[in-house]
Symmetry: C2
DNA sequence: ATTTTTATGTCAGGTAATGTAACATGTGAT
DNA sequence: ATCACATGTTACATTACCTGACATAAAAAT
């Protein structure tokens, strides 16, 4: 195996081996390796489904010269995740959303969408308008007991 | 306003005011305040839709003695979010998933689902099985040039 | 007492996900 | 070169989900 690098010094060998190793780890998951038939077996998805998910840009498999799809291991992972989400009842839009959220979790919780005080005042004013009549009925402002069991 | 707390010392007043204020901020968003007609106006959703989302447990409005729904401001917020997600094409399952993810972001990224080496070996073995015949065709092991443009 | 709002249930239509079929093209085997 | 098979593309059929529309009953408002 190490003989794949002939005519170089030992240190050069080490460098090249190291380079190959890190390359392998990083690249092997994005390399187009698998034809659709294999991916079908691995994921238990139909070709129709796989092509449909590509249509929705959830995966982007490479193509051979002959226009055949070639999938990476990352593609397979994604397809397995998609399958799981589908089994949970999500649709394409939902799955896309999930991936968007994963991409930028941004920690922009920014409070649970606090309605501004202006908005709140508007809301309550509107309701007060609707409730005006109640007041005549003797219901004191702030008495909401009738709202609860 | 401050006269709502007679017969107490100034410091006691401050404490009570503080308590009232935090109470107000925390509670006013969960208090059942709004009948469905108002919520329809605020959210521009139909009653049918609102009830459907309750059916899917995305909201849980309180009920009056007469079994009428009474919504909190949080409910309104949730409905507005639901509406936004729906406009983005999500379905009920997707929206539920989003809320689940929000509840426990757990930061359990746990690596991008690395296939174990065993798994990887299994995959490659399977493909090799499929490719056995190709080898006879003179394709050297490891020659994947045909996979790329 | 009458009218209006709300609750619940059912049916129907539109859309999304998938299956299926028809046909063209690429590719290994002979 | 030709055959057989895998894959690609496109069109139509099927199914489930979301929503509108309608019917009926109970509660609340007038």
């Amino acid at each position: 195996m190490i003989d794949n690098f002939p005519d170089v010094s030992y240190t050069e060998r080490v460098v090249k081996l190291k380079r190959v190793k890190t390359m392998t780890n990083r690249v092997r998951r994005t390399m187009p390796l698998l034809p659709i038939s294999i991916v079908m077996q691995l994921t238990e998805l139909t070709a129709r489904q796989i092509r449909y998910y590509e249509e929705h840009e959830l995966i982007s498999p490479a193509r051979t010269e002959g226009n055949k799809r070639m999938f990476s291991l990352n593609d397979v992972d994604t397809l397995l995740e998609i399958k799981e989400y589908l089994e949970q009842g999500l649709n394409m839009a939902g799955i896309k959303k999930i991936y968007n959220l994963k991409d930028q979790p941004e920690n922009e919780k920014a409070e649970p969408k606090n309605i501004s005080d202006a908005e709140l005042r508007r809301i309550l004013r509107e309701e007060m308008q609707q409730l005006r009549s109640y007041e005549r009925g003797g219901l004191r402002q702030g008495d909401l007991s009738r709202f609860f069991k």
